[in-house]
């Protein structure tokens, strides 16, 4: 497997500089699914190892993107595709769930923490944060100290459509009543400084 052979088959890929031994390419988002399929079927890259969402900073364009790492177990080689989203306000990429099952949670994570939408994903939900969380914490304009967000009010399960009323002592003696608005800046005074200076939009 070498990069000229892959490029001759997939003309839209452009070689990319890399510090490791992986074959690295830039890939336009509209051709991503085709590139992944070709890598899987003709180049024996049977496994999608990782999807890393990246944010190149609020001022750069294109701003958001994703880095895909494929691995060929037979050729013992990594292939890296870097796919930048055209629209920085509403970043979107095609989903690879139809090609690699392992893309499922990786894409959910990129959606949750970086706010990239994956078109065609069977159930694009948040995975690390709770469903009503308003921000995308891995973006570069999100402060390290966090930003105010209301806590999930109940642990109700959407599927059961039941509202779970917390027991009085739930959460221990330091648990604030669930009716109060609990914000990070009230709990942790140091976080107020940076949270105040951060821009309003997530």
């Amino acid at each position: 497997m070498d990069s000229s052979k892959i490029i001759s088959e997939l003309g839209f890929l452009k070689p990319r500089k890399s510090a490791d031994s992986a074959l690295a390419f830039d890939c336009p988002p509209e051709h991503l699914v085709k590139a992944a399929k070709t890598l899987r079927d003709s180049h024996d890259c049977r496994s999608l190892q990782d999807i890393a969402a990246i944010d190149m900073g609020p001022d750069s364009s294109p701003r958001f993107g994703a880095v895909y790492h494929f691995y060929s177990h037979s050729k013992k080689k990594y292939v890296r595709l870097v796919c930048m989203c055209a629209d920085s306000a509403r970043p979107a990429l095609p989903s690879l769930c139809g090609v690699f099952k392992g893309a499922d949670w990786n894409e959910r994570e990129a959606y949750d923490l970086m706010g990239i939408t994956f078109e065609g994903h069977p159930s694009l939900r948040r995975i690390m944060m709770w469903e009503s969380y308003p921000w995308h914490p891995l973006r570069k304009d999100f402060p390290l100290s966090g930003r105010d967000a209301p806590l999930p009010d109940t642990f109700a399960d959407n599927e059961n459509a039941t509202k779970v009323v917390p027991a009085p002592e739930e959460g221990g003696p330091f648990h604030s009543p669930s009716t109060a608005t609990i914000f990070a800046s009230q709990r942790e005074p140091r976080s107020a400084d940076t949270a105040a200076s951060a821009p309003e939009n997530p």
Binding site: A19, Q49, A52, I127, L138
Partner: protein
């Protein structure tokens, strides 16, 4: 992935015989989930028809933290990824940063790292099989494994000063060289460990109850395993010969003589057998590493990456300045991007680092093998009985600290 559940043959009695579905939450605080994992199971009687693992209860934003501190400051955080094998995580992160910087550790450092990685692998697999055995109802094996792990943790304490949160590796080297007589202690451990492992093996591997509960349960085909991106022992148990120590050698693993254990059926029993065998192979590697341990410095002699010796720092102004700059600003890593995967006990732990130059990475992505293993649960668990769920979870040997990051 949401997809229609098809009943296995004996239960496929026609639509009118399908019972009322019930949703059961397993976890997040349940001993069989080995951490804060929550499984939303849809049951039809005893049969699981849908499984939706809920993770994120232990999310600490480690990637965000990594982007706001120097490379060496992040090493204590890597202890908290797979906290059953912290030394492996420390070393994997340093190896990725070193790859980015284009530097190679010294031969002595590499050999010491191999010993650290393999001892950690034994410790992690011991917990893996201990908890797995206990899920199958064997309390004795649990105690036997913990006895051995305790001895390993004593070795780690002698080496690093900490039992669990070792933080021992540094970019370009290790925290310090070995204490006097440590290799002798490691050899003594290895000598008594192999008979103890045989005893553990004899206690449970051919046990009728254990085999009844694990053989043919949770079968993953090689194709499915690769599709989901499984790595490490879970992938090898499915019959795929893939070990990064052999295939993409790092730390000089190509110089060691060891075998890769591979399963045949890809069921829970094979995953057990692979882990048992991997521990024996790890002992082999440790013994070889001690035997041909090279002399020489432990840190690379690069003043932009590794600090000077402590004795020089205390006596020499220039070395003091060098040390001060390295501690405050971090090692000078050139701009670029690198991805590195290490063969960790739980699977391939990957780091993808983008650097804009300087001592703080611009973006760090952690590829957690446990995250991938748990993702595959949504296909693996449906079709099994609820009593098989703890067995399958135990056989996959995941850690939530790594999964949630």
């Amino acid at each position: 992935m949401d997809k229609e559940f098809t009943y296995p043959e004996p239960a496929n009695l026609g639509a009118d015989r399908i019972g009322e579905k019930m949703v059961v939450n397993l976890g997040p605080n349940h001993p069989a989930t080995h951490g804060v994992l929550r499984l939303k199971l849809e049951l039809d009687g005893d049969l699981v028809t849908r499984c939706d693992p809920m993770v994120g209860y232990l999310h600490r934003g480690q990637e965000k933290l990594a982007e706001n501190m120097t490379y060496n400051q992040f090493i204590p955080f890597t202890d908290r990824l797979d906290y059953l094998a912290p030394l492996c995580n420390n070393i994997a992160y340093c190896l990725c940063a070193e790859k980015l910087a284009g530097i190679d550790a010294t031969p002595r450092c590499k050999a010491l790292r191999v010993i650290c990685c393999e001892l950690s692998r034994i410790a992690s697999h011991l917990i893996g099989i201990a908890a797995y055995g206990m899920d199958a109802g064997s309390w004795t094996v649990f105690m036997y494994c913990y006895t051995q792990r305790e001895k390993l943790y004593t070795l780690f304490e002698q080496l690093t000063g900490a039992r669990l949160t070792t933080s021992f590796a540094r970019v370009g080297g290790m925290r310090r060289d070995i204490p006097e007589g440590w290799f002798g202690n490691v050899n003594a451990f290895c000598n008594q460990f192999l008979p103890a492992l045989d005893e553990i093996d004899a206690l449970i591997t051919r046990n009728k109850i254990f085999m009844d509960r694990t053989v043919g349960i949770g079968v993953i085909s090689p194709e499915t395993a690769m599709q989901w991106g499984l790595t490490g022992a879970n992938l090898r148990a499915s019959g795929v010969s893939s070990d990064l120590r052999k295939d993409v050698p790092y730390l000089g693993y190509e110089d060691y003589d060891f075998d890769v254990a591979i399963g045949v059926h890809g069921d829970c029993y094979d995953r057990w057998l692979v882990r048992i065998e991997e521990m024996r192979q790890s002992v082999r590697i440790v013994r070889q590493a001690i035997e041909k341990m090279p002399d020489g410095p432990i840190d690379v002699g690069n003043p932009r990456i590794a600090p000077p010796e402590k004795t020089k720092v205390l006596k020499n102004m220039e070395n003091l300045i060098n040390n001060f700059i390295l501690v405050t600003e971090g090692p000078d890593i050139p701009a670029g991007e690198a991805y590195f995967e290490a063969e960790n006990p739980k699977g391939a732990l990957g780091f993808f680092i983008i650097s804009n130059g300087g001592g703080v990475p611009y973006r760090v992505k952690i590829r957690a093998p446990s995250f991938v293993s748990l993702c595959a649960m949504q296909e693996l668990i449906p079709g099994h009985h609820i009593s098989d769920v703890p067995i399958i979870l135990g056989s996959m040997d995941f850690v939530l600290g790594e999964c949630d990051r």
